[in-house]
């Protein structure tokens, strides 16, 4: 086996070898999936419908009849709107809590307590507050996204070097200068880590949240395919959920590589 260090620093050949292993991983994944359906691991009656080939055909069918767009757009909208609102709320809170030690002490127990509660537990309350529909789903997603954003921002703003603060003061920085030139940029890598975690967990919670009475979205469509006994479409939907999740995470990794400073 080639260890990580060697292949990272290696030649073009090593780079191609790395690439081929990624491709091989995808191929093996499909083989195992196919084997599972041929060995009837999904049950005697429906294993055929669960195979990658059936899912692929269903995917083409759903692309043609518009199901993919019809259910993906609302899901993405819910996740992005709730993420946007979570960022607006969580970053300022995180910076303040991270910077002021008293505020961190004050909020430590409530925050650690709240973040351990699955947002789905709030579902009845969300429905009482906002009714069944988009607002409730968005609220639940917001509730799950704020914690990684807040807690990582707190960490980032809290580990600002006192040396940087002293330097900024000798450069004539007031409170505003220290906030905008030191604390916020210093916390950006942690904010991005928080964002990556928030996107991951939001996307995971989206599916059950969309099972709570909305008329569209990927979570809704999972239940819909089940009710219509279209297990090939169900597998295709699961595939789409995984693919979009992977792409969202890749976008976050790109953001981190682009904007997170290194020491």
């Amino acid at each position: 086996m080639v260890n990580k260090q060697q292949s990272r620093n290696g030649s073009t050949q090593a780079f191609l070898a790395d690439r081929s292993f990624y491709v091989l991983g995808v191929f093996l994944f499909l083989v195992i999936w196919q084997a599972a359906s041929m060995l009837k691991l999904f049950g005697n009656d429906f294993s055929e419908a669960f195979s990658p080939l059936s899912a692929f055909l269903a995917l083409i069918e759903m692309a043609k009849n518009g199901d993919i767009v019809h259910h993906t757009i609302p899901s993405l909208r819910r996740v992005l709107v709730s993420l946007f609102m979570a960022i607006i709320f969580a970053l300022p809170v995180g910076v303040l809590v991270g910077y002021f030690r008293r505020l961190e002490q004050l909020t430590y127990v409530p925050f650690q307590f709240m973040r351990m509660i699955s947002p789905l537990a709030w579902m009845p309350i969300a429905i009482i507050m906002f009714g069944v529909g988009d607002v409730s789903v968005t609220f639940l997603l917001w509730l799950v996204a704020i914690w990684p954003l807040i807690l990582n921002t707190v960490h980032g703003a809290g580990r600002v070097s006192p040396l940087w603060l002293n330097m900024a003061k000798t450069m004539g920085a007031g409170d505003k200068g220290i906030l905008t030139k030191i604390i916020i940029p210093a916390a950006i890598p942690d904010m991005l880590t928080g964002l990556r975690l928030a996107v991951g967990v939001s996307w995971i919670i989206l599916v059950p949240a969309e099972m709570l009475g909305v008329p569209d979205g990927l979570g809704y469509f999972i239940l819909d395919t089940r009710d219509r006994f279209r297990y090939d479409q169900l597998m295709a939907t699961i595939f789409i959920i995984g693919l979009i999740g992977y792409l969202l995470d890749s976008a976050n990794r790109w953001l981190i590589s682009k904007f997170a400073w290194k020491i």
Binding site: S161, L163, W164, N166, M167, A168, K169, T170, M171, G172, A173, G177, K181, I182, P185, A186, I188, W261, K262, I263
Partner: protein, 269 residues
Amino acid sequence: MESNGRKQKALLELQNVSKVFKKDGDDVLVLRDVDLMVDEGEFICVLGPTGCGKSVTLQIVAGLLEQTRGSVILDGREEHGPGPHKGMVFQEYALLPWRSVVENVEIGLELKGIDRKERRAIALEQLATVGLAGTENQEVHEISVGMRQRVAIARALANKPKILLMDEPFEALDALTKEEMQIQILKVWEKTGTTIMFVTHDVDEAIFLSDRICVMDINPGRVKKILDNHLPRPRHECMSRTDKEFNDMRDEIIALYSSLKDEELDLII
């Protein structure tokens, strides 16, 4: 630049500056009645072992610490708090890792609200002053530690400070880089004419750089003696650290510490 010749105007004046720290509920006197005049354009070194309060003195001048008693007067005005008119160079550089070299130099100008074009021009000029022309777009983690400290010096100079305060700036450097940086700071001083107050516990460094040396003592931290340094300049051209005058000065300083026990004396000799 003249080798010495005390000019008439005192730029910086410390009057009876004392500092008391609270430690476990007790008052500890770390600095007692420091009186010091620094002339305009002068290079003064503050030399002493750990615990003599030399860094505390510098931080009081910088405004990062407040004295318990006494006053600091700069250019005729009593000083309170830090500001860009007092350029500070820290031992640990204090560069911001998310900014490029030139952006680090620009930070003080940014805080002053100077527009982008003008501050870039000033920053590039200061980088050239410290011998770093052409490195402006590099990242901080890509450059050597010696270069980092030069960036920090350029950053302080960019504010056109009345005085440059340097807190053991070359302590973390290896011997060769340290010597290179000593020559560099003398060149910067000669070029800019900036007054420099330089804290060190390296006897040779103080002799090599200074017009005068403020020798400090411990328990409590206080000024022991202020020595004039008449060695010819430019030092890197007409002096060697093994010259007789250099050795004499070194002996004179070490003799001042003859009452201290070995373990208390952590000067680099």
